[in-house]
Assembly symmetry: C2
Homo-oligomer: 93 residues x 2
DNA sequence: GTAAACTAGTTTACATTATAAACCAAATTG
DNA sequence: CAATTTGGTTTATAATGTAAACTAGTTTAC
């Protein structure tokens, strides 16, 4: 019984990481779109992922508006894979 | 983005349901053994699963000691399958 | 040129949830 | 008969999740 990584075993964060694992980079707007989360929730959860060094958050300006770009780090990728492996074991899939 | 069933998307409850899906019946002791959870936590979580009609909890006596037996209901089984399907979609697996 | 509405987020207050410690009742053991 | 064990439940606290409220600036319309 290896405990599932609690940072990843949460729907919104899992959605974010899973999506980033496929595309390697996505902005705030895109993440809102694919996850259907509220701005507040998304903001909080990407911060947690960043604190854990699972993603990088790059802030810049696109025209005059702020723009936030997220990408998975190698650490995030690795721990996501471990999570997947352990989840599959738990669920026998 | 179909939201993952929050009752099932919790490690201990998921472990319980996943295990019961394989065996169809297990007692408290067995569930403690396979999940490695504390008694208190296990007690709380099986109660929640029972309230949701995902499992049945049958109390009896085995010799002189109380004995609690759990089994998945058809509803639990069905929602577990739906959860699995949606989880796989989310994770592309 | 200024009020209203929009973009792009962050902060924070509240509600929900999870968890283990404390508890309980009965049985066993020494 | 006191201490320990079995088989749990209750509950207090901590941790977490979430959306509403807020910030800061931009664009549009009058």
């Amino acid at each position: 019984m290896s405990k599932l990584n609690p940072l990843l075993h949460q729907e919104l964060r899992l959605s974010i990481v899973s999506f980033l694992a496929g595309v390697e980079t996505a902005d705030f707007k895109k993440l809102m779109e694919v996850t259907q989360a509220t701005k507040g929730n998304l903001s909080v959860q990407i911060s947690k992922l960043q604190k854990a060094e699972y993603i990088t958050i790059a802030k810049s300006f696109k025209g005059s508006y702020p723009h936030t770009n997220c990408a998975l780090t190698p650490k995030g990728e690795k721990d996501f894979e471990i999570y997947l492996k352990e989840l599959k074991e738990l669920l026998n899939i």
